[in-house]
């Protein structure tokens, strides 16, 4: 089984004006993905645009693999024009998925926008009591709500414009929840995927309240397999060398989103 394979497009279904559900059927046996892993997908079989793009895997179905994506730039716009029956090449599953929650921890899944694509398979895989916090710009950008209601014990919805759920940012909704449930803080573990400002705000809260967690991050990617070193993020890691200083001595390094990520411990990323 190779992680580089060809697949036939089963459907490329618009869910609203900006988001599509993309279903492919691999033409050869493939490796099963874990929640949080991703695939490099070519938006068009040409040299322009040249590179494949990373997409979180959304769902494994009996007939194939599904992705949810937002039409944002030139690549995804071309991708939205791909038709049923066309054959494309992919690389995946790649990267490290979300680690399973330890015993006794309650998972809090926090999704911003299309970040739900990465967290939905995790919600599906978790057998424990799960809370999902899901925010989007407006009502019509909230995806797969019916499925989510079934998968979770409690679903908190919010929109920037207040057209559905609470009006506000998903991080604020989470913060209110945590403030209200302060006695249980140490028994939560956060899993988050969304825009960078959201993840940054979330990290601050998690650090303040000393809650464990994981974030799935994005960067421009070329190879997806760890070779080009293009997709790094800055991380802080404690120096192993013996230090005379009492305060922890941090050294900044870069880690590859494609290889060491895309899921990182929440305290590791330097925003």
């Amino acid at each position: 089984m190779s992680r580089y394979f060809k697949a036939k497009i089963i459907s490329n279904l618009p869910l609203n004006s900006k988001n599509n559900l993309f279903t492919i059927k691999p033409l050869e046996p493939v490796i099963d993905p874990e929640p949080g892993q991703f695939y490099m997908i070519e938006p068009v079989n040409s040299y322009d645009p040249l590179l494949k793009r990373p997409f979180s895997f959304f769902r494994r179905t009996p007939e194939g693999i599904q992705f949810l994506y937002t039409i944002k730039g030139r690549g995804t716009s071309l991708m939205s024009k791909l038709e049923k029956g066309q054959v494309i090449s992919l690389i995946g599953p790649l990267g490290n998925g979300y680690p399973k929650p330890e015993d006794g921890y309650i998972p809090l899944l926090v999704a911003g926008g299309i970040g739900i694509a990465s967290l939905s398979p995790l919600a599906e895989a978790l057998t424990k009591k799960t809370y999902v916090f899901y925010g989007a710009r407006s009502k019509d950008e909230l995806l797969i709500l019916d499925e989510l209601k079934e998968l979770t014990d409690k679903l908190f919805i919010c929109t920037d414009d207040g057209s559905m759920g609470e009006k506000g940012m998903v991080v604020d909704i989470l913060n209110d929840f945590l403030t209200f449930h302060f006695s249980l803080l140490t028994s939560y573990v956060i899993y988050a995927c969304g825009p960078q400002p959201m993840l940054e705000a979330l990290s601050k809260i998690a650090l303040e309240k000393k809650i464990k967690g994981y974030v799935s991050v994005e960067e421009n990617m070329a190879c997806g397999v760890g070779a080009c070193q293009g997709c790094v993020v800055k991380v802080g890691s404690q120096k192993k060398k013996h230090s005379k200083l009492r305060t922890p001595n941090f050294e900044l390094v870069f880690k590859r989103v494609c290889k060491e990520g895309p899921v990182f411990p929440i305290e590791e990323i330097v925003w």
């Binding site: 190779s2 992680r3 580089y4 070519e42 040299y47 322009d48 645009p49 040249l50 590179l51 494949k52 690549g75 090449s89 690389i91 960067e219 421009n220 990617m221 070329a222 190879c223 997806g224 397999v225 760890g226 070779a227 080009c228 070193q229 293009g230 997709c231 790094v232 993020v233 800055k234 900044l252 390094v253 870069f254």
Partner: protein, 303 residues
């Protein structure tokens, strides 16, 4: 069919190698292809001390290509010898190590250590556009380049010595000649071409480093022209590269005068690109009734 070619005294089983910086240390691609099938693996540039590289964003896509400013992030010589080289040694494969120093002394120390451990080739990186010190300051100054190669030459006994030339010069012929006259066994060209892209919404450069190196099909015609010019100026073998995506591109480079080719950015879009190119070159040789890759090289119908 015997597809072997010679780069100086180094015999490669076929003319296809990987371009430095696009193939990691080999490990990253071993699950996609049989590394034993490659002519050679050219590993990511190595410096004496580990380098952390440039801040992100480090890459951005451009029409038919990409800009990168990785800044030579690498594990450093010590870790390379301890962890990365032993892995590659498990394969029946020629290993060429791309090296980068801040000064002549560092190039000498690197090349001596690597030569002593028995690597098959040393590629002098004098053309990386993305680091401030070292590298390109040698690659764009003929006198400095001549001095550097002559010194390194003295410390390299076994390995084949290759100089990777910068396209960011006015005359590739002159620099190729300097490499040959100073004792380089071969030249490889081209490294990336300096470029820049701006996000008009944020009004910021798309790369944190502001400028980067352009690679991919966009630069292929420039690379072909430079290989052709260099081939008229020197007798030492040329390793041609710059936007090779398939066998047809590789053959074009060989017709322009390259003895061997290196596949770079194509690895990112197709991890099996190198193998498909080897197969395509063999098919072309058969189709044209030729007997060896050497017949393609310098088979250009131009005077």
């Amino acid at each position: 069919m015997d597809l072997s070619v010679n780069i100086g005294h180094l015999k490669l089983k076929n003319p296809v190698m990987t371009a430095s910086g696009t193939f990691g240390y080999g490990e990253e691609y071993s699950e996609f292809i049989d590394l034993n099938m490659l002519g050679a693996v050219v590993v990511k540039g190595i410096s004496l001390k580990p380098m952390e590289g440039n801040p992100p964003p480090r890459i951005c896509e451009t029409p038919c290509g990409m800009l990168n400013a990785i800044g030579l992030q690498n594990v450093g010589l010590k870790k390379f010898l301890k962890e990365k080289l032993p892995y590659l040694r498990r394969f029946d494969i020629k290993v060429i190590v791309n090296i980068l120093g801040n000064n002549t002394n560092e190039y000498i120390r690197l090349s001596k250590s690597l030569d002593d451990t028995g690597v098959d080739g040393i590629e002098l990186n004098v053309s990386c556009p993305n680091v401030k010190k070292g590298g390109i300051m040698f690659g764009t100054d003929k006198k400095a380049l001549a001095r550097l190669i002559s010194k390194v030459r003295q410390s390299v006994q076994r390995a084949v010595l290759i100089t990777k030339l910068s396209p960011n010069v006015s005359s590739i012929q002159e620099f190729s000649k300097v490499a040959e006259d100073s004792g380089s066994d071969a030249v490889s060209l081209i490294n990336t071409i300096q470029g820049m892209a701006i996000d008009i919404e944020t009004r910021k450069p798309k790369l944190a480093n502001i400028t980067g190196g352009l690679s991919g099909p966009a630069i292929k015609p420039i690379a072909i022209r430079m290989v052709w010019e260099a081939s008229k100026a020197v007798k030492i073998p040329i390793i041609g590269m710059g936007g090779i995506m398939n066998a047809e591109d590789a053959i074009e480079f060989m017709l322009a005068g390259a003895t061997a080719v290196a596949v770079g950015t194509a690895n990112f879009t197709n991890p099996r690109a190198t193998i498909e190119i080897i197969e395509g070159i063999e098919a072309y040789i058969r189709k044209k009734g030729m007997n060896s890759p050497q017949e393609i090289t310098k088979g250009l119908g131009a005077t």
